[in-house]
Amino acid sequence: MKAHAAEGRLALQRCTACGNIQYPPRELCGVCLADTLEWRVTDDEPGEVLASTVLHHSHEPAFNGKLPIHVGLIRLDAGPTAIGFLTEACSAGTRVRVTAKLDYRGRAVLSAALAISKEVS
């Protein structure tokens, strides 16, 4: 997932045995327990915000200069739910497009932007 995120692409795991698409990544399928997983790579995934929060406190100094931070729980149309940064204040029910990139520590992170903003741009 990291390697794909480095190229700005979002990779979700797909089980070749049962078709389950899952996130967070695991070493086997959370449904049928097969370990025949492949990456399903896209530029972005459409989804819907289920809940959101605005962080005013962080346990890591690296985030302290960036507060407040908007974060949401997003249900991807592909199936799984994912926690991701919200690039703007999106309330529940908002349609978004979710992308992946590497963060300041080289971790793959997801960001959700209003679906409409992509169509406009």
């Binding site: 959101s52 346990h59 520590r105």
Partner: protein, 384 residues
């Protein structure tokens, strides 16, 4: 074999919580064990079962711990299940005693809280949390519970003032409990004016990490009587893990799967409960327990809070020692707090805050926010 026969719970003990401690988890757990021996008059060799819960005991686990404190138990459980561990320990201990695998089981939970303990715990809480929650601002559990709270507020119409009502009532109880760390007067105005942490959560919605330990003993009734210990009976218990995995967001807990079985086995209903000890690391979880354990209909949680009074003298005594929100959360001991308080109440040991004539208590447990939801739920009905 659903009933627990003549198995009883006794000797509720607490090693008084402190905000920070430079002692290790083994000191806290071992001190709880010492208090159990003092409270019961038992010798160490008579404790032949141990249920242990802790997050900060590493690199030690249950086996190193029994050597550390010089126990030789023939029954040993380690339950790193956070807020559900108190009831899970009770269930396992009760069956061990009932079936003869142990005569006396000490159930102990505790954690230390050094300068970096809480940060290290939440940063590495689980693989999903470390990889897929922590990078998003490192808000820790506040962040996950904020998402659940925001959703629950929309689902039920609950407002911050509704949650504040619960917090204020618990603080009134805490003012009668010398073991609570937060005993200053709390008004709804103060609650509402607290600084934002992870909106909609503000400072006084968030449990305060601390160090501490709690414990209790499980044995046969006749044994407790010989020791002269006051005891409570176990009417029914439930536990469930990873309930409703297909719910896109956690709007109900595992209690909703098992509440009917709980009341059926207890042979009483929610109306016959005299005091309720919910797991309250955040007030939204108390509201979820009111709904899912049958004290009100689903989605009626906010209305239930508005219609009832939860503090001393109220019609619905709730978290009668102050709950975690006023006592502090001593790691795994948070999973014991409500159970220990309920045993105190039902045995007349809740000095200065006893609920008059209390005969039945319900205790809820909720543990392990992994990724987007709490995984473990449990509940118990105890009787005087």
């Amino acid at each position: 074999m659903n009933d627990y026969g003549d198995v009883v719970v006794c000797a509720p003990v607490t090693v008084p919580y402190v905000r920070r401690s430079d002692k290790g988890a083994a000191w806290w757990l071992g001190s709880a064990l010492r208090r159990l021996l003092e409270a019961s008059g038992l010798a160490k060799r008579q404790v032949d079962g141990l249920c242990l819960s802790s997050f900060t005991l590493a690199p030690d686990g249950p086996a190193p711990f029994v050597q550390y404190v010089g126990l030789s138990p023939r029954f040993l459980e380690f339950l790193p299940t956070g807020g559900a561990c108190g009831i899970m320990a009770l269930r396992r201990a009760a069956r061990a005693v009932q079936c003869g695998d142990a005569d006396v089981v000490a159930c102990i939970a505790g954690d230390t809280n050094g300068a970096e303990s809480f940060h290290d715990l939440v940063a590495q809480f689980s693989s999903f949390s470390r990889d897929c929650v922590w990078p998003y601002g490192a808000g820790g559990p506040n962040e996950s519970f904020a998402l659940l709270t925001e959703h629950a507020m929309r689902r039920t119409g609950a407002t911050r003032a509704d949650f504040g009502k619960l917090c204020v009532a618990q603080r009134q109880w805490a003012q009668r409990n010398p073991l609570a760390l937060l005993r200053g007067e709390l008004t709804l105005e103060t609650y509402l004016a607290a600084r934002p942490i992870a909106v909609p959560l503000h400072l006084l919605d968030c449990v305060m990490p601390c160090a501490g330990a709690d414990g209790y003993l499980v044995m046969r009734r006749v044994h407790a009587e010989v020791l002269g210990l006051r005891y409570v009976r176990i009417l029914a218990t439930i536990e469930r893990h990873n309930a409703f995995p297909d719910d896109p967001i956690q709007w109900r807990g595992g209690w909703a799967m098992d509440a009917d079985a709980l009341w059926q086995r207890a042979s009483i209903g929610p109306d016959e409960i005299d005091l309720v000890e919910t797991y309250d690391d955040y007030p939204v979880i108390s509201m979820l327990q009111f709904e899912d354990l049958g004290f009100c209909a689903k989605d009626a949680g906010a209305d239930f809070i508005r219609r009832n009074e939860f503090g001393p003298g109220g019609n619905f005594p709730h978290n009668t020692g102050g709950g975690q929100l006023s006592c502090g959360q001593a790691g795994a001991a948070g999973g014991f707090l409500g159970l220990v308080e309920a045993v105190r109440q039902l045995t007349g040991a809740a000095e200065g805050r006893g609920v008059d004539g209390a005969r039945h208590a319900l205790i809820g447990g909720f543990g392990m926010i992994n990724y987007d939801r709490g995984i473990c739920t449990a509940a118990a009905v105890l009787a005087a």
